[in-house]
Symmetry: C2
Subunit: 150 residues, 2 copies
DNA sequence: GCTAGCTTGATTACATGTCAACTAAACCCT
DNA sequence: AGGGTTTAGTTGACATGTAATCAAGCTAGC
């Protein structure tokens, strides 16, 4: 790795730490963690504020186990609840409670403001475009991908 | 937040997850975690492979508590050891052991290769420059910074 | 209809982090 | 010296994440 590349990598590491510390701190001030917020916001986007655990986990890129645990904690705080799936005795739905929706609605503007302050406003439109492009490149499947060849 | 900004933010979140999952997995295959590797590599860069805990924590951007705990775990695995600081009875030095150095030397090429594969090689030189620039912008202190005004 | 095997969540054991309280040593000011 | 204040590092209580395993429900082929 040459010096430019080394610097870029270190810069990348610093970026993630700095930005996420900033937004996480702001969310914590409202009583939500970053993952809490992700669950609330993605759940709120679905019809009936509901989704099966598995589907939700897939959509969020989380393991079922992780979401199950997190949902339990959030349910204990009254942010969402589980209901049985009538079509599948094994399954369950996660449903946003009124309290969860309220929490999200309270948090959303502050979180948006936080993202803006720690991220958006510090960058130029060109930077933002560059980030999207970088994400696209990083997500392209590679020949040397480390999954078993299909 | 307008749609472009929203997309950029989501892209940013995806980038961090994807890249770090990749490199962490590769390191885990050698028996080190990402934090293990950071400790080993930053410690190896210092004279005598040694640093006080606090200095090291500051250099890494970690809390003392975090480094103290992590050092205990790594010491239990023989990767480093603590020695008392002769100049300051409160302090201690973290010292890389021969085994820790070996572990690092074994891991380094694989990790570099991993960073290359998951990050560097997927991006253009312009992307890498952009990342450095973005890091610089994000690190600029802001008027609206959330620390107490000096 | 029955059974083998897959799927879906829940649970357990463990790794890792945070925060705040604590201990001890060093500092500093009189 | 003596006493309050800082600083270094550790630790307990707890939050959160992963991986392995478990139990129950579903489904396809017989």
């Amino acid at each position: 790795m040459n010096p430019d590349q080394e610097r870029a990598w270190r810069a990348f590491l610093r970026i993630t730490v700095a930005v996420q510390a900033g937004t996480a701190r702001d969310l914590a001030a409202i009583g939500l963690s970053e993952p809490d917020y992700e669950v609330l916001s993605t759940l709120s986007e679905r019809p009936g504020h509901t989704s099966t655990l598995g589907e939700q986990a897939d959509k969020m890129g989380w393991s079922r186990s992780r979401l199950s645990r997190h949902a339990t904690r959030m349910a204990a705080r009254g942010l969402l609840k589980r209901t049985p799936d009538p079509n599948d005795g094994r399954g369950c739905f996660l449903v946003l409670t009124a309290q969860g929706l309220t929490a999200l609605e309270d948090a959303a503007p502050a979180h948006v403001e936080s993202v803006r302050r720690h991220f958006i406003d510090r960058l130029t439109p060109a930077d933002l475009t560059a980030i999207e492009q970088i994400a696209r490149r990083l997500e392209e499947p590679q020949a040397s991908e480390d999954r078993p060849a299909t």
